[in-house]
Symmetry: C2
Subunit: 360 residues, 2 copies
């Protein structure tokens, strides 16, 4: 491990050893940055230390140049205030999913504080899920702060391979309300409908309901704090949703009524429009195509496919294996650039692979 | 192609050349069954004929032993009645997503009609998405009918590799309301929130919102018919959801109020419970574990991994590649049996693979 002189900060202290804090510790330690760690839970701290995400602070530890507050949102304000007092030269940032509530909790915000948010969560949290490349190529929002401080934080974010995005705390909270907090709450409320379902009904569950409810497995304690802290931005969207749902229910209760079909139809059409606005995995400008291939369900088949693709120089943008219960075949959904599609498809067919479909 | 004498039906007529009708035509033709096709749309019929999913009926065509009505739900009743009249010896089944409305549309249901529903849709419909193994190992519900007819239909379903499940039309409609129709409507209503989002907000979208809204891309015209036809079973669930949403909104509008935190917390906890009730991809009894591996993002790496897994005799139950925009690494999420986990994990580590996490 080399101490790099080009790092924006040579000494970083991280408070909170969950998924984000531990991942940051791993990423920074691997870059040669000296990292110290702290967590209210000895177990969480112990795990992060075992992962070599940093070391505990001791009486000999030099003061950090940067303190990262990676605690649950409800204590970020207090922890940040304490850090600003304790380390009078350090910059302090937080990485919580809400921003306005954090700024409000910091009366007379210090010129040394900048609120940030890396878009890098998973439904599986905790130090155990940490990885040093969690932030690579992920958006990382930088909010209000003093100019020089923000420039240093931007350099820090870029050094971790993330994409720095400037937004006000208000803009950030509005954005995550619609692209993160509404979907989370909806997934949970939909999954709650499964509580009372019979095993027979559940046996008919397919990919649709699984995808819609996947993030309902996320940590309730964390999400209670997030939605409470962002309630202002969230409530408007939830009320619109509530109103739309009410209209659809009324239309379905009297399907013969004039206009009821139009209301239901509009709901589905608006959904098509909305989902089409999501940028591709690789940004708005990329053009990805998908190919669905039939794969025999035995060891080696997928490897054979991928070996051939490798030999042809094809780099998959994404790959998903779909496998029916008990079936002898599966399907591999390959995502690749639109421009490569025709060539790859004809090569696959020439080599005996069976194409089950394609799409965008 | 051999004409098999063991097929339950040697001559099958399919009305409707969408995803299901064309896939059935492909599956049956490949088994040596004589298939004739019909569609109100010459373009759809032409595509299915191009796919070799069967041939058009001519004056010389022998009468079918089975007619499969694979039209949109709103015309299934009429088409089934016409088929029962036209082919006086044939059994007639439908494959629509709703069942009670179909039976209601058939006054004095014939002893030759059986309502069925293969759980085999995709958000990409049409003949273009058809595949002969669409039904392999998928549940296929068989509803009310005369005993001998139902036994023949069961044999037919099993011959296609599907899993025959007996349910009354009422039970079926209740089941799909909760595991299919509510998630579909929720996905569409949630995706509609994205209509007004700024490009900056959309640039923060991650895997969560993508999964929740994926099926919102489905065909609105088809879904309007499905939810209208199943409104009775659906409305109750939607009202519960509406009530839960209302409680959460009220709690978020006054987060300081007594009990408001408990209401929000309960919503998330019920979501965790609900999603945990979904059976594993391979049925309730299976025990799958997942391993998350770091994979260099270059051609050949994944093939190397899968070749090794094949050499060790490991059969993946599922595999998903996760790939960050512009990143030099990706993650492969391997699903494998719980019992194989420890061995596979240690073999991977011994061979230099980097494990980023594990879970269930």
């Amino acid at each position: 491990m080399n101490t790099s002189t080009s790092e924006p900060f040579a000494l970083v202290h991280i408070v909170g050893c969950g998924l984000l804090g531990t991942s940051l510790g791993l990423a920074l330690t691997q870059r040669g940055v000296t990292v110290t760690l702290e967590d209210a839970s000895p177990a969480a701290l112990g795990l992060a230390l075992d992962y070599d995400a940093g070391s505990s602070r001791t009486a000999d530890s030099l003061p950090p140049e940067l303190v990262i507050v990676a605690t649950p949102p409800d204590v970020v304000g207090d922890v940040a205030l304490r850090a600003l007092e304790e380390f009078s030269e350090a910059l302090v940032i937080d990485v919580a999913s809400v921003k306005e509530a954090i700024y409000r909790a910091l009366p007379g915000v210090s010129a040394r504080f900048v609120g940030t948010h890396p878009m890098a969560g998973r439904e599986r949290g905790g130090a155990v899920s940490a990885r040093s490349d969690l932030f690579t190529a992920r958006p990382w929002v930088i909010c209000e702060g003093e100019d020089v401080a923000r420039q240093k934080i931007r350099a820090f974010i870029v050094s971790l391979g993330a994409i720095a995005i400037d937004m006000s705390a208000r803009e950030h909270d509005e954005a995550v309300a619609v692209v993160s907090h509404v979907p989370q709450l909806v997934a949970s409320l939909t999954a709650a409908r499964l509580e009372g379902a019979t095993p027979e009904a559940l046996s008919l569950a397919g990919a649709g309901v699984r995808d819609v409810t996947r993030i309902a497995a996320s940590d309730p304690a964390l999400w209670v704090q997030i939605v409470a802290a962002n309630s202002e931005a969230l409530v408007g969207h939830l009320k619109s949703l509530h109103g739309d749902l009410e209209s659809v229910i009324a239309a379905l209760e009297d399907t013969a009524a004039k206009g009821s079909k139009a209301i239901v139809s509009q709901a589905f059409h608006r959904g098509v429009t909305g989902v089409s606005r999501l940028p591709g995995k690789h940004g708005v400008s990329s053009q990805l195509a998908t190919l669905l291939l039939v794969i025999d369900d035995r060891p080696g088949e997928l490897a054979r496919l991928l070996t051939q693709l490798g030999e042809w120089g094809v780099n998959l943008e994404d790959l998903r294996l779909e496998h029916s219960p008990g079936a002898n075949v599966g399907f591999a959904e390959l995502s690749l650039s639109q421009s490569a599609l025709a060539d790859v498809e004809s090569q696959l067919v020439d080599n005996g692979w069976k194409i089950a479909g394609e799409g965008e």
